[in-house]
Symmetry: C2
Subunit: 627 residues, 2 copies
């Protein structure tokens, strides 16, 4: 009889989505198996653009610096159009900074998918609870419906087929033991896995999606794209800027990469003789590019990758099935054109949304009961499906912006890049996004293109502050490592100048540490606590003594003394200017504010600074206080 292995989570697909999901389970006891039919990590080509919101995820995984070092920054965008004087050829119409003022930092960088995968994969290596197994594909899945409402069960059963290859022929660097046949030939071995949860991160042709009978809704459009990564030898003056080129002969989106390379995206209009991807050869793509760029030259240097493909604009009917035991993430459940550089970003962000919820549900301590678990896991679909739908609506209109720039082009473009950066995402109310009662019905909740602000369901805007203890500068999303814990961030205001604020901090400190109301159990335990309490004050740093604040803001460990990095100041940094946190977050230093921030950096609740009960209510509704 075949032995059956059990795992907590089985992830199908070790691309950006699968690896981003697996990264949530570092430093936990949750057992994760990633399988992929590929023989090893992706080597080249494919997705490339990284938005700042995705780079914040890498920061929270501790791999931000490595990825930033290798990435190519994008700073300027040039719009080129047909010459206005009726002559043939193109001319530069506009030069735009690739900048969203309120972000306060670089909005977009370029790094090829293979390197992004590499860093996420390296980050898993020392974690024995996470295994990646290449050359492995699932062939059958069953979910036992009778077990769905039970805890501590493994309702998902999957049959895997592992193609065993000679180790030297395999680039499978993470698999420890690969038996192989004597002559080194591929051999197939079956393996049966039982899992608590299964997640399909298996791309546009997702096997799991088909098994779960999830339909993709929307059009398989006629859009065919040619994509080429090459070193151009050319006298075109804007090769090192992002360029939108519009000529009578077609359009190009040109994006600079490292190593003197550029990427050219060339959409082929429907009805064209090239609208079948199979017809779109490399030479034809380059011919089309030459015609568009004329009279500038284009000679081809080294070519590192090229591809031609047809794009579908579709969203899955469901993002989860079987009572939140099976999930679909990334390309497996939505596809769209590469025009706005969204593919890899949205996949990673889907995974980031799901991961902490699974971690919270599977955490041995402070575990939610089965109702609370399902309620939380159901927010994956309610939060991420509208994002995919909005993306496709946006995608449809995106190129129109460039086709005939209007007089409001600058404003429209800025709104578009805010959208593609993810700044307009706002998750709807749920157990994890709680609105104050008064606005629960009144407020409109559609996607907003407003300035990044403190609203439940929106990402916490990143900001720069200074640690009270040592004057070192940090950005808040670098501080919010992906450990699975929630944060209560107390914007305590100018507590040196206002007695009511310092009194409040004392009371809040007591409330948050109180074992009676249940919060004390959530905040105790140092780095392993499910809730970490932080403060950002706006007082003169020299008038605040860290060790005089309530202990929840600088907990003691018998092992290594105080935690010095929970209290930040909105102050001038020694070397990097003033973060102006209160101003940017429109928070009154005389009043303060308390935020509950979810493990994924999204805002769970916005409370008055003296609304102690509000904090308790948030964790109670989530089910974390229920035992």
């Amino acid at each position: 009889m075949m032995e059956v292995k059990t795992v907590d989570i089985l992830i199908i697909g070790a691309g950006p989505a699968g690896l981003a999901l697996a990264n949530w389970f570092r430093n936990s006891s949750i057992n994760v198996l990633l399988v992929d039919k590929k023989p090893g990590p992706t080597r080249r080509g494919k997705a490339e653009g990284l938005k700042s919101t995705t780079n914040e995820i890498f920061d929270s995984y501790g791999i931000g610096p490595q990825i930033a070092t290798e990435s190519w920054r994008l700073e300027e965008i040039a719009i080129w159009g047909q010459k206005k004087d009726g002559k043939s050829g193109i001319e530069r119409e506009q030069l735009i900074q690739d900048k969203v003022e309120e972000l306060g930092k670089v909005r977009e960088t370029m790094l090829q998918q293979s390197r992004v995968e590499y860093h996420m994969q390296q980050n898993l290596l020392s974690h024995r609870n996470i295994t990646i197994q290449y050359n492995t594909q699932p062939v059958d899945v069953n979910v036992d419906e009778s077990l769905l409402h039970e805890d501590e069960v493994y309702p998902v059963e999957v049959l895997l087929v592992k193609t065993q290859v000679h180790p030297e022929a395999s680039s499978n660097i993470l698999e420890n033991s690969t038996p192989y046949t004597a002559d080194g030939a591929a051999k197939e071995v079956e393996e049966r896995i039982r899992a608590r949860y299964i997640v399909g991160c298996d791309g546009a042709h997702s096997w799991l999606r088909k098994q779960l009978q999830v339909q993709l809704e929307g059009d398989l459009t006629d859009s065919v794209f040619g994509v080429v990564d090459l070193i151009p030898k050319s006298n075109f003056p804007d090769l090192r800027r992002v360029c939108y080129l519009r000529a009578s002969t077609g359009t190009i989106l040109l994006v600079p990469r490292s190593n003197k390379e550029v990427r050219l995206y060339i959409p082929v209009e429907s009805g064209s003789s090239l609208s079948d991807p199979k017809e779109l050869t490399f030479d034809r793509i380059i011919d089309a590019a030459r015609k568009i760029m004329s009279p500038y030259t284009l000679e081809v240097g080294a070519v590192s990758w090229w591809s031609a493909y047809r794009v579908g604009q579709r969203v899955g009917s469901h993002f989860s099935r079987h009572n939140e035991r099976a999930f679909l993430v990334g390309d497996a459940v939505h596809t769209h054109s590469p025009k706005a550089g969204q593919g890899m970003n949205t996949s990673i962000q889907d995974a980031y949304n799901l991961g902490w919820k699974l971690r919270l549900v599977l955490q041995p301590h402070h575990k939610l009961d089965s109702d609370a678990s399902r309620r939380l896991l159901a927010t994956y679909e309610s939060e991420r499906r509208p994002v995919a739908q909005d993306l496709i609506s946006f995608d449809r209109g995106y190129l129109k912006l460039f086709a005939a720039p209007s007089s409001q082009f600058d404003t429209e473009f800025l709104q578009a890049i805010k959208f593609t950066t993810g700044l307009s995402i706002r998750y709807p109310p749920s157990c994890a996004v709680q609105l104050p009662k008064v606005v629960q019905t009144a407020e409109k909740l559609g996607p907003s293109l407003l300035k990044a602000d403190l609203v439940p369901g929106k990402r916490l805007p990143d900001f720069q502050a200074v640690y009270q203890a040592d004057g070192i500068t940090t950005w808040i999303h670098k501080r919010l490592q992906a450990t699975g814990c929630f944060r209560v961030i107390v914007f305590a205001g100018d507590l040196a100048a206002h007695q009511h604020l310092s009194t409040n901090v004392q009371k809040l400190g007591e409330y948050l540490a109180d074992p009676e109301n249940g919060l004390g159990q959530l905040t105790a335990g140092g780095e392993a606590a499910p809730v970490e309490v932080l403060m950002v004050h706006s007082a003169n740093r020299e008038k605040v003594e860290l060790l005089e604040l309530p202990e929840v803001f600088r907990p003691w460990s018998d092992n290594d003394g105080y935690d010095y990095w929970r209290v930040l100041a909105d102050a001038e940094s020694v070397h990097e200017g003033h973060g102006r946190v209160y101003e940017r977050l429109e928070t009154d230093p005389e009043k303060g504010r308390t935020l509950v921030v979810r493990p994924d950096g999204y805002i769970g609740a916005v409370l008055d600074v003296d609304d102690f009960e509000g904090v308790g209510k948030y964790f109670n509704e989530l089910g974390m206080l229920s035992k």
Copy 2:
């Protein structure tokens, strides 16, 4: 008969100095052998502070980001003294920012020596011309005096003894083949090496120094230091700041490290019962620290390293011998107290000063004749010996500053940190540091504590500028990779507004590319050229077209098109503010200026922007135009 291997350079000692020296020979055909008697890289403890000038060296070696990511930043300094009211105990007297305004960036970071060595060593791995051999010590050296004036000879002969150990017992990760005895016991094997040059980077007890009969001049002082790296459990409020603590019972220099650790330096006064390092046990160091920190508590958490040692303040009589065939670098030729955190920095900077000179002399193309070679190599001693002497003079007075802070404390302290950062270093005139004739005699050349400025012999002040081609921001020392090439940096001024400046740039471009005057041979050849020509203009970027500038500023390669990264603008960066280069360097945008910058980032010559001949004269006097 014993086989004799030949190498271009034999380096004794693979610590910070030896590794920094070896890094100069990456991407060259120069053969380098590093030997060290240690069984492998340093593991812990020892030196730690990195000044910005040292971090610039890491940037030029391409390992700046990795080192910065691991380093701990220092932002604030607290001065503590005996309570003024006569009561026992200490109180905070002053809080100072660790900042030098004109640097425009972080002045000091902390990273332990073992990690610094690790990154420098990793950076050599892919370079087959550089070998590191551990478990190896030299036992005999001979320099054949009859060969000293010849080219293409190997006048240095060294007998090495290699202790062969079982590979599993060895941490020798770089040596490829270590034969060993059948029982795994250590075995000694002799090896004879002939080298063109030998460099002793073998520390305070330098073997090579003794062989070269170089005397250390100065005192072996009575200063004994206890040093401890530990996690303190303490209610002292400034544990995360650099602290100078002065109590009636003694003084402590406290420096925060990563992982919640701090380093304590505790000098023991002469005449004390503890002035013999052997008597200074860990418990005694901690007892002394407790008394000084009282009434604050100090409990000991994890201890990662501690040591006690006596400090000599001494400088070698010579830094090179045998007609510039043998050199001494770093601790091998000067020692001083750890108070100003200079040990590792000065060693690395010594090596950085010597490396490019050896590279230029050994370069197969554009090689200097033997007179020019010796003249250049002699500048190692004339440039670095005064630095070591100044350091010791400074060292003697340094703690006085803190012992009884005067009313000018702030000013004195700022001057002191400028000094320890290396900003006051100014190399004397030589073939590599050329003064305009008019000032050659008139100007005083001693170390100056003036604002960083454009003076021959001083380090090029680092500055932030924006690439013309893509708007990407860089700091100039990040741009000046250690390839061995000189740079001619043309501060072309506002060439869009002033006809005389744009005319000048055209003429200068022609002159620098002219094969007739010899400069054309130095500037041709793309990345392999011995001289790279850069421009920093102050014009409106939109009014400058890169491809309309002379080709020397954007050379073409048949392989990969134009070089887009030789022209920079003094302009507002999209995401990082304005570098204000012309203002900071006090350069008139209507006049401009031309600099010759040496491969080590020091200024070789400062010229009027139309002084074309001055550029030729510089390379001619250096001997690079002599053939």
